[in-house]
Every structure is written in C-alpha cells, then in structure tokens.
Amino acid sequence: MLPATIRTAFKVFLRRKFFTAASLFGIAFALTVLLVLTALADHVFGPRAPEVFHARSLGVFSATMKGESRTMIAGPGFRLLHDTLPGLPGVERASIFTTPDKAVTYLGDRRIELWTKRTDGAFWDVMRFRFLEGGPYSESDDRDGRLVAVVNESTRRKLFGTGPALGKTFELEDRTFRVVGVVPDIPFLRFVPFSDVWVPTGTMKTDSYRRDLVGSFMGVIVAKDRAGLPAIQAEFRRRVKAETLPDPLQWSSLDVEAETIFHGMLAQILGGSGDTAKVAAILGLVVFLFVAIPVVNLVNLSVSRILERSPEIGVRKAFGATSRTLVVQFVTENVILTLAGGALALAASAGILALANHVGVVPHAQFGINLRVFLAGILLTLGFGVVSGAWPAWRMSRLHPVVALKGGL
C-alpha cells in the first residue's frame, strides 16, 4: 500500500511542476529560518565546555539600583557579590569575576585589541577549561596580585606567532604579564566565560572596586545539586536585602537576583533593559509569523492541488476507498514534499552558518549543525508536514463522490 502511495505522490509532483516548486520553496525557506534559529539557540544555550555545571549553576549578572530621579542598571559590584556569595548553604563552589573589557596592547606598530576578564582563582573550578598549554592561576596568585595571565589560542597566535607561549610575557595596560596557560577560543555569545585574556582580579591598579554595590562584575555559584537552587536563591535574596545602600538620599532600592544561567543569558540577549517581556513578546510574534505564513501558504497550495484532483478523489471514493485511506495518501504526499524541503533547508542553513563563521559576524563563533540541531530539524520538518497536510486532506476526504466527480469544491 505504502509504496503505491509514494509512487502516486511522485507522479503527482511531476505532473504539476509549478505547484511542487512553489511548495518546496516555501517549505525550504521556512525550515531554513527555523533551523538557523535553532542552531543559534543551541550555540548560546546548549551545554558545552567550559560551562559543564550549567544545570546546577546560578548566576548574578545584573543589578538595578533605583532612586527617586534616577535608575542605574549595571552589573553587580564586587562588594555586593563578596558580601552575599561566599558561604551560601548548599553551594559547592562560587566565583566572582568581571565582564570582559577591551584592552589594547601595542606590538611594534601593530595595535591589538584584547578582551580582558579579571577573575578569582575559583573561576577555574567553576568553569572547566581544556588547557592546551600550562594551567590556571590560583587563589594565592589573585590574593597577591601576581601579573600572570591565561590567554586563548588566537591571542597566542597574535602575540607570539606559532609555537608555545608558556612563560612568555606581553604588555597589557602598561604592565608586563606572564602567560601561565593557553585555552581554546571561547565563542563571544557564551558571555559568562568569554574573553581573550584572563588575569587575576588582584591585578587591578586600585582596589576601590571592592566598595561598589553596582559595577561590572558577575558571580556564578555551583550548587551541590539542582534541587537546592530555590533555597539558595531565597537565601541570596535575604542577604541582598541586608545590604546598606550608599547615599540613602539618592538611592532607595537595590534589585538583584541569582538566576539560572539560561535566564541570565536570555535577559542579556533580549537587551537587559528591563523590557525583557516586551522584547520576548515581539520575538515570539516574529517567530510565529515565520511559521504561520509558510504553513498557511502551504495549506492554500495543497488545497488547490487537491481540488484539481477532485475527479480522481471521486473515482476512488466511488470504488470504495475510505476517508482514512485518502487522508493517509494526502498526508504522505505532503510529508514527502516536506522532507525534500527539509533536506534543502539543512543544506541551505549549513551554508548560511558556514558563511557567518567565515565572515566572522560574531568573534570565535562556531555555529554549526550538530546532532541536537539535526534532530530538532527532523522534528520541525515532520511537524510542519503533518500540520500543513492534515487539514486539506481531511477536507478533501469528506467530499461527496458525486460532487467530486463533477469537479466541485
């Protein structure tokens, strides 16, 4: 039965080439957009090294301080994190580090921009980097402010050319740092670990950052287990409440949350301006339209395609074919068409992602189609095929044979 259905399907596709091409184009376009979006989401949110504790981590990424006439939205400051994170019950490890900052180093006539992140020693326990050379710096390096640095692969190439860099030195912000470790490039969109150069926080030129409640730091904790996260969030909230605000005349409230890494990143990507819900609603509408328009388009085409075959439907019904048989046939035809479109979409999105990597839209990004994205793509394709095929098929299968034979609707 099934092979006959498939044979009929191909005959039908070849008979009306315009309809087949128009349907294929629509399916391939819609699935390409969805696949590229899935690959981007996977790139940003999917678990991958060095963030191996993703599932049982919480992060503090944003702090909002409000006063009567002004609002300051920034990262949490060092003091806030230092007061609240250490010794949270149920926490295995915690780290405090800065958001990456662009620093410039001069190599002869060349100007090299390097993203620089300042971290404590525990950072290397919270993030599990794979080291190509050497290893991390320690808690005591941070305490004593030793001028040591971990650099990524492309920084090693820019500063020292090919060959190992361990023990070599380079200038950064007017001081000489010694390389103790080299790690692979971290994609820009993994904003928690991302940087080109990592140095101890203790190497800051002044220590006044230690007094800030709001600043440019981030904190990440790893809980003993996932179930403990809500209790940790509650305790964190309590500790934030206990903080005294600077200049109480100017500032009246401080709003900080320990969020899951997923939520934190979502908020950062959606603008971090407090309008997250609005931006998410607009994004949701856009994705909805990009799915709804192709589906409706495909349904319209399918209805037309099937209407054209109403004499065939009439004959088959007159000879005793059940509605079920007809529905199966039409949905199968649609799914075959969608699968072909899906294959085109896979090729197209792989090409677009490779192009994005090649042009370097996002530093160190390695967008690609991995198994997760591929499986999501297959699911999307099948869903698309069934949804857009079911309604026209059901409608046609209910045609009265006499009406169908006369070519009515």
Partner: protein, 398 residues
C-alpha cells in the same frame, strides 16, 4: 462592478478565507518591516550637528566602578597633555561620547508629564573638537567661571519642548526650583542648531550639555576625553598619545577609539538587523507570491467553464483578466481590513512607545499599498491565462 466582485468573493468565502488569512499575516510583516525602514531612513534627513572626522575618543578608567570618581582625577592635566602634542588640533573632556552605546538620560516634569532628555557634561573645548554649531546664544567659555549656576546648552529640540516659542537663553530649566543649591540650577546660555549623539539613524532627541569646569570640582561619574587630531595623522599615533597620558596619570588605563570606527559599528548595529529583516521579508513575500499565483492559477483552470460562458456572452479578454485581478484585491481587502483594525488599536492602547504615530501611519499606508500591488501582480499571469480561454472549447469541457 465592485459589489459584484465582492459578492463572488463572499460566495466562495470558505475557499477565500485562508488566502485572506495569509494576506493578513503578510500585512503584519510588511507593516513591521516598512515601519522600521521609514523610521530609520526618515531620521537620516535630520542634521547630525557634529562631525566625527579625525576625532578620537579616549576612555579613562581609574577602575573605581560606576559609583567611584570624584574631584581628584587629573582631567585638566590630561586634556592639557593631549593638546600639547603636535599632532593634536584640540582636546576636551566630555561625559558622553557620540556613538557610544550608553546613554545618560534625565527627566523633568513638563506640564505634569515626565519629559526625558539625554544629557552630558562637556568642557569648553568640546565645541571645537566636535564642530558644534550654535543657532542662538553662545557656547561655554571662561566667562562662565565661578557662575552661580550650571551653564547649560540645549539642542533646538529641547529648547522648543521646554520653552516653546520663548527665547531660552538666560532662562533656568523649568524643573530647577529656586530653593535648589545654586551649583545645581541649570541656566541656558546657548542653543545648538542640532545635536544627535546616537547617530543618523536614531530618532532626534532632546539633549542638554552642562559645562564641566576643568579648574573646579569635576562632576560625579565617568569622564572621557575627545581629541581632534590633525588630518593625515596615522592610527599608530595612538601609542604615543597613551604614553603621554600615562605620564600624567600612571595609575589610569586609557582606551583610544576613533569616532569614525565607532560610527561604523553604531550604524551597523542599526543597519544589519534592518537588512536581515528586509531580506527575510523579501523571501517571505516571494514565497507568498508563488503560493498566491498557484492558488489563482488553479482557480482559473477550474473555472474554465464559467470564464468561457462569460466570453461567449461578450466579455472582453481584458474584462475577464480584470475580474481575476479585482477578485484577489477584494480578498486582500479582507486581510488588510483585519490588519488595519489591529494596527489601529496600537496608538489607541498606547503600545507604540517612542514610535511617532506619523511614522507608524506611513508604515501602515505603505504596507497597504504594497500589498494591493503585490496581490494584483500575483493575478497577472493567471489573468492572462483566463484571456486565452476559448469559449467554444470551454463550454464543451465537461
């Protein structure tokens, strides 16, 4: 004629409903994209009010965080050290550099409503570095030294919003109360013909500069330098500039960026999403076009008998093709009407935010126009097919 066409469409409402739904969704997409295009490119025609050519920005970081900062930073010495270099034409201190993504926004109460404006501190040299032009009053100068108020320069938009037709020069800002500390009351000394710190694609906004007196106490918060280098100065001069600044303040770090580079990055941030949106929508519309053409084609094939009959009783080929085009336009009207109904709710429910209603209206009108042209052009080929129907053959077609 039109009533007749609507009647035909209404009689086949079940078949036409999905096409109308598709047109409605397309209308929503077109309104979004066209509104954004009108908004961004409509802004370009307003004057920018400054020049970024040969201007470099130097970020000073004493690593004291956002709350840090104070009177003890040697900003005057840094400005003087930069200005003393032979490659530098002029240098000044500023709080908020053009094309940087951060913005300082302040609010005041105007006629009982919250009125937002962007602001920045600026030292006397900023006019020369950024090439600002005044339409009224004067820029900051030494004659403001020791003034019992904060000398302030507005852009024309802020002047118009805050003072209407009255001359703002010499006035205090409306929300500054008489009992305020004299060194917090802001008094307008001049008006810039234009100043749009965010760049050409952003909407013009109200802006206020207040004077930074380099010889007196510095304002809270970060301060940076803007430096105008002489034409032809190579980028490698940056290292020498940083070295000279380090001579004044060894504990600070300096990050030099050319304003031209910042302009490119800032414009790309607007243009790339617009381009991606426009390309995606173009593909989406192409897909819809293929779909509509397919649907109409099929409907012409299926209605061969009806068309043949009309030809037989004397309808011209043009009349038949016109009917196909008018029918799809009638279907489009249903989609557009529902879309316009939704669009009309946005200004009523105050969901437009900062989007000017006129821009939105322009987007909606353009989308409506584009959609009718689009729908009609999808009907051209099927319409032409309809003119080819031979009455004699069509009537025999069973």
């Amino acid at each position: 004629m039109l009533r007749h066409v609507f009647k035909i469409v209404w009689n086949r409402k079940k078949a036409n409903a999905l096409v109308a739904v598709e047109i409605f969704f397309s209308f929503v997409v077109l309104v979004g994209v066209l509104t954004m295009l009108v908004l961004s490119f409509g802004n370009v025609r307003h004057p920018l009010g400054f020049t970024s050519e040969n201007v470099w920005s130097v970020r000073l970081d004493d690593q004291r965080g956002l709350e840090g900062g104070g009177a003890d930073r040697p900003v005057r010495e840094l400005v003087e050290a930069a200005a003393a270099l032979p490659q530098v034409a002029s240098a000044a201190a500023i709080q908020n550099v053009p094309y940087s993504f951060g913005a300082w926004i302040s609010s005041t109460t105007l006629n009982g409503k919250r009125y937002l404006y962007h602001f920045s501190g600026a030292s006397d040299g900023v006019k020369e570095v950024l090439g600002l032009e005044l339409s009224r009053g004067r820029w900051f100068s030494r004659e403001d030294d020791g003034a019992p108020y904060v000398p302030t320069v507005l852009n024309e938009r802020a002047a118009h919003d805050l003072f209407g037709a009255a001359d703002p020069v010499g006035q205090f800002l409306p929300d500054d109360r008489r009992d305020m500390n004299p060194d917090e009351r802001r008094r307008v000394v001049g008006v810039l013909s234009a100043f749009r710190i965010e760049g050409p694609y952003q909407a013009p906004r109200a802006f206020a500069f207040s004077r930074i007196d380099l010889r007196a106490r510095l304002p809270r918060g970060p301060v940076g330098l803007v430096v105008k280098v002489r034409p032809g100065t190579p980028r490698s001069f940056e290292a020498a500039l940083v070295k000279a600044l380090h001579g004044v303040a060894p504990a600070m770090t300096f990050t030099v960026t050319s304003l031209e580079e910042m302009r490119v990055v800032s414009n790309e941030r607007i243009l790339i999403p617009l381009a991606v949106g426009a390309v995606l929508s173009a593909f989406l519309m192409l897909m819809v076009a293929l779909g509509l053409t397919g649907v109409l084609w099929e409907s012409v094939t299926r209605r061969t008998r009806e068309i043949g009959l009309r030809r037989a009783v004397g309808a011209s080929g043009l009349g038949v093709a016109g009917q196909i085009v008018l029918e799809i336009c009638a279907v489009a009207t249903f989609g557009v009407a529902v879309g316009a109904l939704f669009a009309g709710q946005l200004p009523i429910l105050h969901l437009l935010g900062e989007l000017p209603a006129a821009v939105f209206a322009a987007g909606v009108s353009l989308a409506t126009l584009a959609l009718y042209v689009f729908a009609a052009s999808c009907a051209l080929y099927p319409g032409w097919l309809a003119t080819r129907v031979l009455p004699a053959r069509a009537l025999r077609d069973e």
